[in-house]
C-alpha cells in the first residue's frame, strides 16, 4: 500500500484567525504540489478567512458555517465529512508546514505499520503522551511516555493535532460536538483507551506551531466549562497534566 498526496485532504478548522489560516494554507501550497485543502470557518462574518484572504481561499474548499462558534468538534467533523479522499491530515490553523514535515516519510510509515492515527511533532510540543486513570478512575493522568518504539516511531495514546489518518476512521470516531474547546484529550482518550486505535508519533517529522493570540480568539478558547464537561462525561473529577498541575471538573 502506498499513500500519495492525491489521496490526502488537509482539514483545517478556523475561527477568528484569518491571517494564521492564510499562512498555513500558503505553507501547505508552497511545500506540496496541488494539495487538497478543506477549511471550515465558524467565525463572525467580518473575520472570515474567505473574506480576508479571498485569493488564498480560492485554493481551498471553504465551508463557512452559518452558525457562529459551533466549536472545534462540530467544525472538524464538518471538514472530515466533506473530504472525499481515503486519508485526511488534520491541522490547527496556527500550524505552519515546512520541509520538516517529511510527508513522504509519514505516509510510508503509516502504510508500513499498524497505525490508525499518526501524529507529527509541533515544534517542541507534540511529544508522545500516555493517558492513565488514577484514583479508581476518578482522575485522568496525561503524561509523557510511550508504549513502544521502532526507530523514530513511538506508539502512545495521544499525539498532537497534526496527524494523518484514514478518513473513515476519524469520521467514525468523530469529535464530541458538545465540546467547543478542550476537545483534544477527550478525542484521544476515546481513540486509544476506549476504541483501542493505534496512535503513534513520528518524532522526526514536524510542523511549526506559531500560536496566534488574536483579540477575538482568546475568549473562545479558555472556556474551562468544556474541559469539565469532557471530564465528567467519562466519570473523572480531575485531570493531572504532564507538568503535574491538577485541574478539577
Amino acid at each position: 500500500m502506498t499513500i500519495e498526496l492525491r489521496d490526502i485532504t488537509f482539514c483545517i478548522k478556523t475561527i477568528h484567525r484569518p491571517w494564521a489560516c492564510h499562512r498555513l494554507v500558503e505553507s501547505i501550497r508552497k511545500h506540496l504540489c496541488d494539495p487538497k485543502i478543506i477549511v471550515v470557518d465558524d467565525g463572525r462574518d467580518h473575520l472570515r478567512f474567505s473574506k480576508k484572504y479571498p485569493k488564498t481561499a480560492r485554493h481551498c474548499q471553504v465551508i463557512d458555517l452559518a452558525e457562529h462558534d459551533v466549536g472545534v468538534g462540530v467544525g472538524r467533523n464538518a471538514a472530515i465529512d466533506a473530504a472525499t479522499t481515503e486519508y485526511i491530515f488534520l491541522l490547527d490553523d496556527d500550524h505552519v508546514v515546512t520541509p520538516q514535515l517529511h510527508l513522504d516519510r509519514v505516509c510510508l510509515r503509516f502504510a508500513s505499520h499498524k497505525i490508525d492515527i499518526l501524529g507529527v511533532r509541533q515544534g517542541d510540543g507534540g511529544q508522545p503522551l500516555l493517558l492513565a486513570p488514577l484514583m479508581n478512575a476518578r482522575r485522568i493522568w496525561m503524561y509523557r511516555g510511550e508504549h513502544h518504539r521502532v526507530g523514530a516511531l513511538a506508539w502512545c495514546d495521544m499525539s498532537s493535532n497534526a496527524f494523518l489518518a484514514r478518513r473513515e476512521t476519524i469520521a467514525s470516531l468523530r469529535w464530541d460536538p458538545a465540546l467547543k474547546t478542550y476537545e483534544h484529550w477527550e478525542f484521544f482518550y476515546r481513540a486509544s483507551r476506549i476504541e483501542g486505535l493505534a496512535v503513534a508519533v513520528a518524532t522526526d517529522c514536524f510542523v511549526r506551531h506559531a500560536h496566534v493570540q488574536a483579540k477575538n480568539y482568546g475568549g473562545l478558547r479558555g472556556r474551562a466549562r468544556f474541559r469539565a464537561m469532557g471530564l465528567r462525561k467519562h466519570g473523572f473529577h480531575s485531570m493531572r497534566y504532564p507538568g503535574g498541575t491538577i485541574v478539577h471538573a
Binding site: L130, P133, G145, P242
Partner: protein, 237 residues
C-alpha cells in the same frame, strides 16, 4: 494497614532472604502489618515455598510462575494482583527494621503534597540521586533538587519504597528487561513527571546475597535499555 497497603516481594533463588524479609515485616509491624504478596519465578528446587514452608504460610498470597520471567514481569504481576491503593516494593534481600517505621513512611507519602513514590534508605546507601542525559550519556549523580523535613526530592531512589499503585501501574516496568530495569523505570518516571523522594530518616536493612543459581550479571539487558533510550552508557556521577 492491611486494606490500604500491600508489601510486594519478587523473589528468585533466595528463599532464605525472602523468609527473613517476611519475618521482619511481622516482627516490626505486628498487628499493623501490610498485606504481603510474594511472586517467585525460581526453579522448583529453589522455591521459597519448598525451602521455607513455614514463612510461605505467613504471606497472604504466593504466586509461583514459570522460571525466570524477570524482575519487570514479576513486579508488574504483583502490581496487578492486588487492589490496595498503596504498595511497598523492596528487593527480597531487604529487611524491615526499627529504622524502617513503615507506618510512618506510608503516612508521609499521604501527607506530603505532590509525592507519588517515597523511598527509604537502603542500609547506608540509597540516598537521593538525580538523572539527566548529556551527549548520549545518562548521568545519575547523588543529589536532590529540593529538601525539606528529611525528605529529599529527586529522580532516582533504591528499590525500597512506598508508592501509589495506580502511578506505578501507569509507568510499569519494561518486561523485556529481566534485570537492569531500575534506571529504565526511574528515567521513564522522570519523563512522565512522577514525584519521587527519599525519606532520609527511614531505612531498610540491605545485606546483599548472591547465592548459587542467582542470575545477576546479564549485560544483554543493559544493552537493550541503552538502545531503547538512545544512550551510549550510564554513569553514576
Amino acid at each position: 494497614m492491611r486494606d490500604r497497603v500491600t508489601f510486594c516481594i519478587k523473589t528468585i533463588h533466595r528463599p532464605r532472604c525472602c523468609a527473613a524479609l517476611v519475618r521482619s515485616i511481622y516482627e516490626h509491624c505486628g498487628d499493623r502489618r501490610p498485606t504481603i504478596h510474594v511472586l517467585d519465578d525460581g526453579r522448583p528446587e529453589l522455591r521459597f515455598s519448598r525451602h521455607c514452608p513455614e514463612e510461605a504460610t505467613m504471606v497472604d498470597r504466593l504466586v509461583e510462575t514459570e522460571c525466570d520471567i524477570g524482575l519487570s514481569a514479576g513486579r508488574n504481576r504483583l502490581l496487578d494482583l492486588g487492589n490496595s491503593p498503596v504498595v511497598v516494593f523492596t528487593d527480597d534481600d531487604h529487611l524491615v527494621t526499627e529504622h524502617t517505621r513503615l507506618t510512618e513512611l506510608v503516612a508521609k507519602l499521604d501527607r506530603f503534597h505532590n509525592l507519588d513514590l517515597l523511598a527509604a534508605k537502603s542500609g547506608r546507601d540509597g540516598g537521593p540521586r538525580l538523572m539527566h542525559v548529556k551527549d548520549q550519556i545518562l548521568h545519575i549523580p547523588e543529589g536532590a533538587y529540593r529538601r525539606h523535613d528529611f525528605i529529599a526530592r529527586c529522580h532516582y531512589v533504591s528499590n525500597c519504597f512506598v508508592a501509589y499503585r495506580d502511578i506505578l501501574q501507569a509507568i510499569r516496568w519494561d518486561e523485556q528487561l529481566k534485570i537492569e530495569e531500575h534506571w529504565d523505570f526511574f528515567w521513564r518516571a522522570k519523563i512522565a513527571g512522577v514525584n519521587v523522594g527519599v525519606a532520609t530518616d527511614h531505612s531498610f536493612d540491605h545485606v546483599h546475597v548472591d547465592p548459587p543459581g542467582y542470575l545477576r550479571r546479564r549485560p544483554e539487558f543493559l544493552a537493550i535499555g541503552k538502545k531503547k533510550h538512545g544512550i551510549q552508557k550510564v554513569v553514576w556521577r
